[in-house]
Amino acid sequence: MSVRGLGPDAGPKAGPDAKAGGDISIREVTKIYDPDGIHVVAVERCSLEIAAGEFLVVVGPSGCGKTSLLNVLAGFEDLTDGEILLDGKPIAAPGRPVEPGSDRIVVFQNGALFPWKTVLENIVYGPMVQRRRELGRARQAARNLLAQVGLEGIEGSYPAELSSGVQRRVEILRALINEPRVMLLDEPFRGLDAVAKSVMHQFLLDLFERTRLTMFFITHDLDEAIFLGDRVVVMTTRPCCPKLVLQVNLPRPRDHRALGDTRFLELKRAALEAVHEEALKAFRAGERELA
């Protein structure tokens, strides 16, 4: 088997694969938490269309409800109202039991590799629990994946023996081997230093060029958002819904030079303004909550 776009013959121009899908439709989604009668509206009437093969980045102040949206998308939590479709099929609706699945895999902030498993065991975890594929072949596929991104030789290491940058890359490979239609990345590079972060950006951009998976990427780093995304959505503070959508018209494949492009700077200025406004609102709301 070969992961889409990462097979031996898949060149960098493999491009979007229409059959593989990954089209997400978020329709009027509302998520209300109600622990002990405290009514918290995390997401309110949020609608977003994400095309198959699009790299969508969501930015917003911390605690604005971005992660709630991702949790609903991932199937970790149910939603209060609205519905979410993946390639036309509903994956979340009110009253529907939550079901996470390997068609949309989450990469977490702070990393979630299993510390008791070696790198290889971590990567084949998905194929193993899905029992769809022979384990030997999955191991071979995992080794190929590692080799393709220049990480051969670490199969037998435990996550704690690796730098956090390598850990994040392994975690992304662990998702990728399942051939998901969508990758949900929740601030995956948070806590990395600037150098490691820029390596990770290049890594993710290369992967995106080759696989053209739909990416749903959450961050609050604007540079990262514009550098990586096809579209950047600035969210309002709680309740979370799109405030500003920026089309990033920087050509792909991108590299660090894009960061100095005037279009980049203009986009950043526009995004900054919107984010600042929301951050202030969040700050005042916080003050009110404290008072």
Partner: protein, 275 residues
């Protein structure tokens, strides 16, 4: 140094066991110096007839008595009996305690039912169980097994319960996201994630276990043997060097059982050893 000699040259990955490597280095040498000084002080205390310590047997007598013990089958029988007491009681505590701890950690209802009893029984020192245990259990062996069981049992259950509650939600969600079923989450996430807590519970529990065992053996020494009973009998017979030999043996036995647990932990949790 020592590790170089002990490493098999044909297979560079296979190193001398850490226990062997750690046995000969600067730090253990320092420990040995302290030990020698201790024995010298002991000899001086006896030689100068320090008040209150006048009956203390000199190191030489203890050494002679130790050699005699080591040469006798009865001494090793006592070792064997104590080890069996420990093994049965401790294994029972693990076998009952780990599943109970898991259940209490995973299921809130189970926790709410069982936890209040725990809060009452846990502070009761295991030694306080001795009278009831003697009354209730038909044989002395069963009494001792039960007492040994009460030592580590509560510690193991509470550690495992905490361990389950410390399982990272991200790990569980990552597993679900990768297509794991609840069964996989239990066997492949919950269990390995709580294993370090199980081992900690066992290690702490092992310390208590020897306390309880020796007390139990001393109380029942008229009918049941073991290292504790050997020490107590030596006391009632007024053979002071054997008392000290008994104490030393108990110390060594306790150390060996803890070392055994440590080895087990390293074997079961290779990801922790290599860090």
């Amino acid at each position: 140094m020592a590790s170089g000699i002990l490493t098999a040259p044909s297979n560079p990955r296979r190193k001398a066991h850490p226990w062997l490597r750690q046995s000969f280095n600067r730090h253990t040498l320092r420990g040995a110096v302290t030990l020698v000084v201790f024995v010298i002080l002991w000899a001086l205390v006896v030689a100068f007839k320090v008040p209150y310590l006048r009956l203390l047997p000199p190191p030489r007598d203890v050494a002679v008595s130790l050699l005699q013990s080591v040469a006798s089958a009865g001494y090793w029988a006592n070792w064997w009996i104590s080890m069996v007491h420990i093994a049965v009681g401790f294994v029972a505590a693990v076998v009952v305690g780990v599943p109970l701890g898991l259940a209490m950690g995973i299921n809130r209802t189970v926790r709410r039912f069982v936890f209040p009893i725990f809060e009452v029984l846990r502070p009761v020192p295991p030694i306080a169980w001795i009278p009831l245990a003697i009354i209730f259990w038909p044989t002395v062996s069963l009494t001792i097994y039960f007492l040994v069981f009460t030592g580590p049992f509560f510690i193991i259950v509470l550690n495992v319960m905490d361990g389950v509650r410390e399982v990272s939600q991200n790990h569980v969600r990552a597993a679900l996201s990768l297509g794991a079923k609840p069964r996989d989450v239990f066997w492949r996430i919950m269990l390995p994630a709580t294993l370090p807590y199980v081992m900690t519970g066992m290690a702490v529990g092992m310390g208590v276990t020897w306390n309880v065992l020796i007390a139990a053996e001393m109380v029942t020494s008229a009918t049941e043997s073991g290292l504790g009973s050997m020490t107590w009998t030596a006391y009632t017979n007024g053979i002071l060097p054997v008392i000290v030999v008994g104490m030393l043996s108990i110390g060594v036995a306790g150390y060996l059982s803890s070392a055994l647990l440590r080895l087990l932990g390293e074997r079961l949790m290779p990801w922790q050893r290599r860090i």
